[in-house]
Symmetry: C2
Subunit: 523 residues, 2 copies
């Protein structure tokens, strides 16, 4: 596998099918004012598979089912995206109580109303309102509400054992908005020769933003044979090849726990990455949104911030690396056990960036004024849950514990069931919310896909959707080692249903493999 | 005045002072990973005056006051931004009740809790939850929740008398996010020769986004002598000059009612603009976020959508223009009488755009998944307020009526008081939330400003801030006809305080003028 073939930009890898499907959906110009070539060509080229053509087809099926049409399935099962509450996960009661109170502070004025809420929810709401005297309806500081940035800093300190600074934290409308901001600040789009090191497979946000801001995607392969581990050798090889082409590589994205791949990085691997970033002058963008989602008891989440601080007191070489490295870490209210995707909350922390980065981030944030206030409050609630001794603690522990335990059982179930399928192999899901199994597709499937101008795994996923109603995303949307095929599935359907979803998938998979052995399969 | 001098891009007009102040705040690089020249130079060049250096100084004063320092004033009065709830405006009770219920649906399960809310708020919350079965914690359609897009479409139909299509509406995190999306789709940043026609003076979002996405700012002057009217002659002159330079002008921004200028456009003027857009192949971007904020009884807000539909049944020339024009109109929950700035809600409606624009907008929206759900609900509440006969109607009418009546009185007060000041002239405020008076600054002030490398109006605003605590924004941040100076002030402080704010300003203004007549003034 030649890493150079991965450095050609967002459109270069396995996107033929989605590109094709995309173009087939857009009609002729009907207006005098613009023609398609007028549009932002970087945006036109950008791909975002998680909500791409497969989802459009799925939504069309959903409409047809609702209209009474008879299809091979009764309902759509959306396993395309980590959206837990869309599949029945309940929000945490404490969080929603506080949110309701700060939304409608009039409730705090009547004893009858206060009595309906947990006393610690009332106290928390009062704390927020005392510190946000204008309430949730006023624009906040563009960097985020100060008291919540302090809550985030305190959380980081508790988690890592090292202090954090509220003034290095930005509250954002979800982690994706934060990543977009960092990309927009760090990539000099006009220069056109910047590069971003991104894991292959990756979460498609990264490839899409790379294309959108006119940088080069420099992909480094994760090692599927080693539980999707990150190796410095792969990164170095990709980096060297990119530099040989004149690409100025600015930063590296590390997703830990991995999306779509579910691995939790080892301390050794992370240490090597930090040293490499220091040595090679790369900003480290740490996507740590799944930090609460670790299922393998032999693994634990360690933040890059903690590691860098620990290295700062380590060997001389470690100290040097820790001193040199620039780190940005991202977190989100959408994952973990709170799963508040729709509310759009999150933060990023800057560590050892030049001050101009913060200045420019602040200006960029101020253009759209501030992150939404409910998302900011939800971020505070995520990082500052009820403590032992508080009234909501037991309920909070029970709810969050049940969610995580169930996710863990489902993670195991999914990888086990996938590994039982012919031609499918799936690494154990150590963390995050996804399995990313490899499929060895039969020749008939490859041929059929080619005939239809689709990527083979997109062909497979479309067949699964059309026959089972299960929505999964082709590996080509995440990029993958050439010649390999995968798909990503969440394991977020309710536990009671998960087993039947896997059986339905297994039954159709067997049929698909049989039908395509002799090349007779039809989509 | 030569319109060509306005077409040189975002950095060309009256931004010396802010640029200087900006650069003076950024220190030396402290990290090995990036140097300032690595950053996105388009972002570095972009200016956003509303939250620029003046606000930084103001916030510093605020901290010093809080720390007990003695300053020439006891409090900061933030008149720099249209942020009504930060200055004491109360949110509408009905809206906050519905929001609290949909945030914490458990409240709907107990009779005791239901009894605390208005029955129509309960019904509305139940309607939303029925149509959003996963609640507010799930990602929504990237275009926005369908039932709310339908509410928006119904609102437009009631307002304009012509039908609207929910599928042409995108819900956004405030109008600014919507404008950013349209800019990012329509400007081909890589081409580098696109142009955007923007009024001078303008809301700085437009100049900032123009620079950020590598387009040319093509400014057309509003006619201050004619109540800040838009004239086709000025637009044509700017357009011709820009085209002579090879600039491909894509769109024109019309802000109505005007920001910072407060004018309400006449039907005749709007008709001419639509014809011009059709003739000159310009997408019409209609910023209509102040549509509820009209104070002049002889004026009324007419949407461009309504006008275009009306023209569609008019003379042959009108029909032709209406058929050709591509229109995008923006609205926000932050303005009007609801003033829910922090919640970040809004929408835009596409009318007669090529389908590729919607496709690309959808993809762009999907990169950050969806607009925040509380903002989406708040947009629904804005466009679908309590109706006659519903339980909350009387309270809603009283609250919203009182807010608008008070804004109207304050609009009149501010322009009257400003016109009493030496060297100040201010057009009557027909609408929006701002006055934009012209100041004839004495020679001493011009000289002092020049000595300090500041724009003269920035010098004036800084002096006002340092002596009164009143935060106003220099006209140079909005751009203005060369050789003229202005400032923008909101009239959002509470009515009881507004008179004393104006007196404080008047007293210092008199002192400033006297001190600078002989050139002895000091900042």
């Amino acid at each position: 596998m030649d890493a150079r073939s991965l450095t050609l930009g967002g459109a270069a890898l396995g996107v033929g099918a989605t590109l094709l499907a995309w173009h087939s959906r857009v009609g002729r110009a009907s207006s005098a004012q613009l023609v398609p070539s007028d549009l932002n060509q970087w945006l036109v080229e950008a791909q975002y598979a998680v909500r791409g053509p497969i989802l459009d087809v799925a939504n069309d099926f959903k409409r047809r089912l609702k209209a009474g049409e008879k299809l091979p399935f009764d309902e759509l099962i959306y396993c395309n995206i980590g959206n837990p509450q869309s599949l029945g996960q309940k929000p945490l009661a404490f969080n929603r109580e506080v949110l309701a109170l700060v939304t409608n502070p009039a409730l705090l004025e009547s004893d009858k109303a206060r009595a309906l809420f947990a006393p610690d929810a009332v106290r928390r709401a009062e704390m927020y309102l005392k510190n946000i005297p204008n309430g949730l309806g006023a624009y906040t500081n563009s960097q985020g509400i100060e008291v919540i940035r302090q809550e985030v800093a305190d959380f980081i300190e508790r988690r890592d054992g090292f202090p954090a600074d509220k003034d290095s934290i930005f509250l954002t409308d979800g982690a994706s908005a934060g990543v977009r901001m960092l990309y927009q600040v760090m990539i000099d789009s006009g220069a056109g020769n910047d590069g971003m090191l991104v894991p292959i497979p990756q979460y498609p946000l990264y490839s899409a933003l790379t294309t959108l801001f006119n940088a080069n995607l420099v992909g480094y392969l994760l090692d599927e044979a080693q539980a999707w581990g990150v190796t410095v050798a792969q990164i170095t090889s990709a980096l060297t090849a990119a530099r040989a082409k004149g690409i100025k590589v600015k930063a590296i994205v590390i997703i830990n726990p991995g999306n779509p791949t579910g691995q939790c990085l080892s301390l050794d691997s992370m240490t090597e990455i930090v040293k490499l970033c220091a040595r090679e002058n790369l900003v480290l963008l740490a996507d740590e949104v799944y930090q609460e989602n670790v299922y393998d008891p032999s693994k634990e989440f360690i933040s890059f911030k903690k590691l860098v601080r620990t290295m700062g007191a380590g060997t001389e070489a470690e100290q040097e690396a820790a001193k040199a490295v620039s780190l940005v870490s991202f977190h989100s209210t959408s994952k973990g056990f709170i799963g508040e995707c729709g509310i759009r909350g999150g933060y990023f922390e800057l560590d050892n960036l030049i001050p101009q980065v913060k200045e420019q981030l602040y200006k960029l944030a101020s253009l759209t004024l501030c992150a939404n206030t409910h998302g900011q409050i939800t971020t505070g609630l995520m990082v500052n849950p009820p403590r032992k001794g508080e009234e909501s603690f037991a309920e909070f522990e029970a709810q969050s514990g049940a969610i995580l335990a169930s996710l863990k059982r489902r993670a195991n179930l999914v990888s086990t069931k996938l590994n039982e399928l012919e031609g499918v192999s799936c690494n154990a899901v150590q963390g995050a919310m996804y399995a990313f199994p490899r499929i060895d597709l039969p020749d008939g499937a490859l041929r059929k896909a080619r005939e239809q101008g689709m990527e083979p795994d997109a062909y497979y996923c479309m067949a699964v959707l059309k026959n089972t109603g299960i929505v999964i995303v082709p590996g080509s949307g995440f990029k993958q080692a050439p010649g390999t095929f995968h798909f990503r599935t969440t394991f977020l359907p309710p536990e009671a249903k998960m087993e039947s979803v896997m059986s339905r998938l297994a039954a159709y998979h067997t049929q698909f493999m049989a039908e395509h052995k002799d090349g007779k399969g039809e989509l």
